[in-house]
Assembly symmetry: C2
Homo-oligomer: 380 residues x 2
């Protein structure tokens, strides 16, 4: 079946031999989990770090991306002698359930041999974590040295620590949140509506051909603005005009070309995204993020109920929460909210706000202070 | 020709008998300006206040909107005994050039009898002001008591004061800016791309039939998020779930319906907008706003050059700049930037930051402190 999946990538693949139960009540048969590892698992299997990727990332943490040809997304911080030191740790990163880089998702073949498309069940962050717990089981790893993630990856790290407290000794959560806010949901909804408004979406049944690329590009553009700070955008682009392909110096064209550099940049972000990401995966993963509220996930409450401290009642893990002062997507207040709950639950937690000009995206960029925090926490 | 325009509204109409020159180098023949007035012009024509509307508003300041049936957009603040007191002042508000409520715009008929669509020239904020200066000329008003506007309307008020300094004694600028930032441009570009990605846009030639409604709705949704504060969204909607039309209490559906109230609200904002606004007008007006940088407008520089103080060199007007502490679209820093330039130009200026929870939209909502500032400034 795997060869019908246009987004399948090379690497390690685990196929689960038991159905994966889902929060929505359904279960998925034959779940595939594509993952990458780096470093060596020690004899007592105590040196494993599970990295969780962000919304549009995947398992290619250090390896070259098979679609874009770009270096792995966290090569800055993961590798021999790096803050996440693969001379010491065995690092695992799996494409999330619902993704499009080899793990089972809406582009995967269902039992009838055709892609699930919108027949794929709506999944949650906890469902994604469950799939990766199955991966840990398969690898014989009972307890992680640490669960680590930024942005959506941080939600998975928090969910793992809360729902499977015996499975990790530590959780490092970067630029993330324990719940999606109304504004977070609103931006995702704009993206989903942009995809669904594209006639090429065809209710998800675009098959392996060209999907709703225009809609997906708009979704990516809207989201991308939220990843950058206002000041960062001003510094990087300001109101500077775009030079023309023929070398003409930038000028207002009194037309609808990308006159401003920021327009050109955003259009490029949108277009390049469609070549590497599946539109239906984007719908399902953003939905999982919007559904995420760790307090209600654990309490069973809905619509913002539940006390977050109760979610962490069973934990013995150490926590480190890192935020960035220019991140308006998941601002420092969200990390503090988690820290207060962890304090109330009696957990060991440190909460660090770093200064970096790049907004939410800071967690992926070269921020030396972040490297120091990561290394300090993992080596403690 | 007017009857080919599906967006023509009743009210006062001025047709210019000379071509209107435009910043882009072209000129427009037979420009129509649809406007509303309230109050009585006094004998020496010294009591006129020109109100400028925001991006998606129009001349229906106090009158019921012919398309939505809703009360005029500033009935809170304009009327007999109101902060903009029509017992005392003669209030004028015109649909901007490029608009779709009766003034000449892309939906208007060109010389060949068919809509301009994308043949309409790209216009600027100053072009919009020029059209309204022509309206003042037609009404015999040499000098305004005040030019007043919020959001885009504030840009027009600033542009009038800078480019036609002899035409107003005062300018009241609310929740606005003297330049569109990279982030402002980025959000508008997302909206334009959403419209242009809709196959029903047809390069603008959708005629009088259904236009790119899905794309326009997405554009509106993205923009609408920027009009509200994060805290306001959280207070108004939080993560509360939407009750179903059949009365079922809100619950996660594990589908892609509008589970959250904020999703439902945004979808409604998008859909209801398409019934009252022309997609091509949205393209042209957002373009004008993105092109707006008063410093470069006056200096002739491009791409962020020019000193704003020079723009105000000729002014003798009093200025009042009002911002809201939760407005992240045009934050207080932008008003301060204008105030510093006005100070450098030796102009009389007061700069007021008001506290209101609604974000940018505060200027349209019931904020008593704003009413006091408006009344105080206009009656001084």
């Amino acid at each position: 079946m795997a060869d019908t999946d246009p987004f399948l990538s090379a690497g390690n693949l685990l196929v689960l031999d038991v159905p994966l139960p889902l929060d929505g009540g359904q279960s998925l048969e034959g779940v595939r989990i594509a993952y990458e590892t780096c470093g060596t698992l020690n004899a007592d299997k105590s040196n494993a770090i599970l990295l969780f990727h962000a919304l549009t990332m995947d398992q290619h943490v250090v390896s070259t991306h098979p679609r874009t040809g770009k270096p792995g997304w966290w090569r800055n911080s993961v590798g021999p002698g790096k803050p996440i030191d693969t001379d010491r740790f065995f690092v695992i990163c799996a494409n999330v359930l619902g993704g499009c880089m080899g793990s089972t998702g809406p582009a995967s073949a269902a039992a009838d041999g055709t892609p699930y498309a919108m027949r794929f069940p709506v999944i949650t962050i906890r469902d994604m974590v469950r799939a990766q717990i199955a991966l840990l089981d398969a690898l014989g790893i009972e307890r992680l040295h640490a669960a680590v993630g930024g942005s959506m990856g941080g939600m998975l790290a928090l969910s793992l620590a809360a729902n499977f407290p015996e499975r990790t000794k530590a959780a490092l959560v970067i630029a993330s949140t324990a719940r999606h806010s109304a504004q977070n949901i609103a931006f995702h909804e704009v993206g989903r509506q942009a995809i669904m408004a594209d006639p090429k979406w065809k209710n998800g049944d675009y098959g392996t051909g060209k999907g709703p690329e225009a809609g997906l590009a708009v979704a990516r553009m809207a989201a991308h603005i939220t990843y950058l700070s206002e000041a960062g955008l001003t510094e990087k682009f300001g109101r500077r005009l775009q030079d023309r392909p023929d070398g003409t110096k930038g000028a207002k064209t009194f037309g609808f070309d990308a006159d401003f550099q920021v327009e050109s940049y955003l259009r490029h972000q949108g277009l390049s995204f469609t070549g590497r990401f599946d539109a239906n995966s984007y719908l399902y993963i953003t939905r999982a993020m919007d559904y995420f509220d760790l307090a209600e996930e654990v309490s069973g409450g809905e619509g913002g109920g539940g006390r977050l401290a109760e979610a962490f009642a069973g934990t013995t893990a150490r926590f480190c929460l890192v935020s960035f002062d220019t991140d308006w997507l998941y601002p420092t207040a969200e990390s503090r909210h988690v820290a207060h709950a962890l304090n109330a639950a009696g957990a060991a937690v440190s909460c660090v706000e770093l200064s970096a000009p790049y907004g939410h995206d800071s967690f992926l960029l070269d921020v030396p202070a972040l490297d120091r925090v990561i290394a300090g926490f993992l080596n403690a």
